[in-house]
């Protein structure tokens, strides 16, 4: 948050014209994601959510333990599950607002040749070296 606040301050955004609020969101934390959604909805109140931009991603491996005891790896939670959960949490407001949801994707989706290989039961067998 302090880093984001600093970056925002350096923009010298004209708050006389538009309101801008920064809210913390750590997508590796699903509980925190829910708190963020609640806070965002409180802040928006009767106004609309015109756009939802899902931009965050990490490129770590799955060597470490899942965050907060999850069976899922952190990249899976950050790059998909928490974003998917967030849309669920905001769904009513998004529909009411006729929002546009922008999902930042990647040409890397083409790397997956056999979607069956990403099944969670097979995940542990996948240990190919990338280079």
């Amino acid at each position: 948050m302090p880093r984001t606040q600093k970056a925002y301050d350096s923009l010298k955004f004209d708050t006389a014209k538009h309101n801008l609020t920064l809210l913390p969101l750590d997508l590796s934390d699903l509980k925190g994601t829910r708190s963020f959604a609640r806070l965002a909805l409180e802040k928006v109140k009767q106004d609309k959510i015109d756009y939802l931009l899902l931009n965050a991603a990490i490129s770590d491996g799955s060597e470490g333990p899942g965050p907060n005891g999850s069976k899922w790896s952190e990249p899976y939670i950050v790059n998909h599950l928490a974003q998917h959960y967030l849309v669920h949490l905001l769904r009513d407001k998004l529909v009411e607002s006729k929002s546009r949801v922008v999902v930042v994707s990647s040409g890397a989706v083409k790397q997956v040749e056999d979607p069956g290989m990403i099944s969670p039961t097979l995940a542990s067998a996948l240990n190919r070296k990338p280079y």
């Binding site: 490129s59 998004l94 890397a108 989706v109």
Partner: protein, 134 residues
């Protein structure tokens, strides 16, 4: 996808982005007629910190690499473009501003696969041990 499964960052990134795109299609179907869902690629953009987990740094002069402002402009285009293709499944805007042909991401159009990787809110909360009312 599982924690501790030992998949390296480069492979896992492509897989998670594949699943995320399954999710974009899934939400496009759920929210049809109510919201617009657009997927967009900013292109290969060194310097954003995305590759920090791979312990490699993509040099800015790599072929196909684009500077950060150009990547940002690609993403911004997804906010304003309204020349949607007739085919509702064609939701992917490339970094060069074309609606990508479905053949490129055909495997993500499998509805059963989309359903598999898009659990309900209740399923997520149950699986991840989040109290439904907390």
């Amino acid at each position: 996808m599982k924690a501790g499964s030992g998949i390296t960052g480069f492979n896992l990134y492509g897989q998670t982005k594949f699943i995320q795109l399954l999710g974009a299609h899934w939400w496009r179907r759920q929210l049809a007629g109510q919201c617009v869902v657009v997927a967009v690629s900013p292109g290969l953009i060194p310097g954003t910190g995305l590759s920090r987990g791979m312990n490699i740094n993509f040099p800015a002069n790599m072929p196909d690499a684009k500077p950060i402002p150009e990547g940002a402009a690609s993403i911004l285009r997804a906010f304003t473009r309204d020349d949607f293709p007739e085919d509702p499944e064609q939701i992917f805007l490339t970094s060069w501003g074309e609606w990508w042909s479905k053949g490129v991401y055909a495997k993500t159009l499998d509805k059963a696969l989309q359903d598999k990787w898009c659990p309900s809110k209740e399923e997520i909360e149950r699986e991840e041990g989040l109290d439904s009312d907390a």
